[in-house]
Symmetry: C2
Subunit: 333 residues, 2 copies
Amino acid sequence: MKRNYTSEDVAKLAGVSQSTVSRVFAGTTQVSEKKKKKILEAATKLQYRPNAHARSLTTRKSSMIGIIVRNIRNPFYSAVLEIFHRRLSALGYHLIFINSENEKIQDKEIGQLLDYRIQAVIITDALIASAAAEKLKQHGIAVFLFNRYTKHSNNTAVYCDNYLAARQIATYLIELGHKSFAFISGPHDTSTTVDRLKGFREVLEKNKIKDFIVEAGHYTYESGYKLAQELMLRCKDIDCIFCGNDIIALGAMDAIRVMGFKIPEQVSVVGFDNIDMSDWPAYSLTTWEQPVEEMIEWVVRKISGHPDEKNNKGETIMMKGHLVIRNSVKSRK
Amino acid sequence: MKRNYTSEDVAKLAGVSQSTVSRVFAGTTQVSEKKKKKILEAATKLQYRPNAHARSLTTRKSSMIGIIVRNIRNPFYSAVLEIFHRRLSALGYHLIFINSENEKIQDKEIGQLLDYRIQAVIITDALIASAAAEKLKQHGIAVFLFNRYTKHSNNTAVYCDNYLAARQIATYLIELGHKSFAFISGPHDTSTTVDRLKGFREVLEKNKIKDFIVEAGHYTYESGYKLAQELMLRCKDIDCIFCGNDIIALGAMDAIRVMGFKIPEQVSVVGFDNIDMSDWPAYSLTTWEQPVEEMIEWVVRKISGHPDEKNNKGETIMMKGHLVIRNSVKSRK
DNA sequence: ATAATATTTGAATACGAATTCATAATTATA
DNA sequence: TATAATTATGAATTCGTATTCAAATATTAT
């Protein structure tokens, strides 16, 4: 392989010392214009690029950021990944991507992230959050929980106010005259599910509505499809379903339609996330939009502003979002 | 920050030399069982993990692999990324993710990939392929084009036989008695588009069919929607549309239905890729399935088998795939 | 038991850039 | 113009692991 040139080579060609070359590329100290120009010329000629490993070795940090995504096949997270990449790469960071489906791989990979002395890790996976966060923080890596939080620990987290959102959705459905409610959720042990359920249930109870069924599954299309199917078979009088997220909702809608029910005429469906597909005419799903851009913006600012873990004191930020009304809900009055 | 322990620390605690510790973790040379055990104990006690940068610095390579995805919001590529990650992380590699929307960022980021002396780059982006591949290869980084190839150069590439696929799709549509054809494609300057168009057109010509309209756009839902809309307005006698990929097809289907046409009764639609959504009952899209798992498998084997660029001689592999028949096409006989 | 061979081990060095510290060159001040 | 205060520069060292080379130890053959 064509050997890569080093700062030493550039120094020789430019007639300066290695230190000076380093200074030009690190941009830490002033270098006279004259030498700077010579150095840059020499560097261009040799196609020199600083070795990132050597740099990270001395500086004890890298410009890498880990991003752990629960399920990249969920369009919500594809979008999140896309935005994070756009923002962070513009700032010179590199994303190490980890899709976490299976806990075993996770653990190993988190260890490997440590090996790279990465600067921060963004975690969008509820199941992995606490344990991993602890381990990473022990090693001085800043951890950001995205779209989830952990109660007991002092993690830095940004998430949407799921409780409030669920309350507003419930209120909306009640106001439109719905009588028989169902909630098809994700795993029951995640903060998102818990909060959404809590908010929804509270409003129902306050309105003395007993007719409420909860089905927990996964945040996937298949899960939504299957649970909706079972639900509609068992309880034919259901007139509205709140789904844990959009991809569940799409699955539910398809199942319901396949069974011959009309949406929204017979059953109203509400999702959560406002992924691209919920706007497709085939679904036109009423859903809750998370302020994704702002949530990401907040994380990015934290990362770039406070590179080290010292400032990672466990700030938790909650954002609101809003209801996007489309055509999957119909007034029952 | 709690300083990270080094092999030196482990050596001291275990009463051996740093070299021996290194040998245990690098796994290059034999170390006596006795010392090995002591070292591992000491390492566990200190929570020692080898510094990946130091390692990469001496070995002159890293276990990082870049993956450049054209548009991660396209579910086809989410799936591809997911599979690549599953395979490669199991082999101890790390994925640096790059979403390429905008050419400027690309160039800069490719440069940065060089800084990490990454082992290989997987490129799924047609627009970036040639230039980037050249630059990367110059620096001794193995390049793998996925789902595309470049004519003139000797790049290693794996892709689906688009030409053959398009021929079979055309044949299938003709056999079912379709008379008026349209092709809604992606950008006209990508190998995928060119090959699919060529195959499709050839079969039509062979069958003396002149009634053929081509609309080029992007590989997005929006583009499919818009072009289908225009198409149906202009040529109301179209009875089948071949779409450049599934996400275009979904957009096209929605547009067509919104305009009041029935699929497949009035218009047949065929996609390409067989993404998850094409199986959703709302679409039930007949499409061409690329042998994604095998394509990825091939790349992974190349990467893990031949770590350096010497063996990157520009092998191009074409795989077949097959038609998945669903309900978006109807016989016109 | 001894010689011959094979296996482990440690000391020293390399990898490539950043940084400290001391010196040289420049600029500002009197 | 001489001196003080800055600024730019280079030599030497450091980061943490891998590896070479030579010495030490263990193993096998005789």
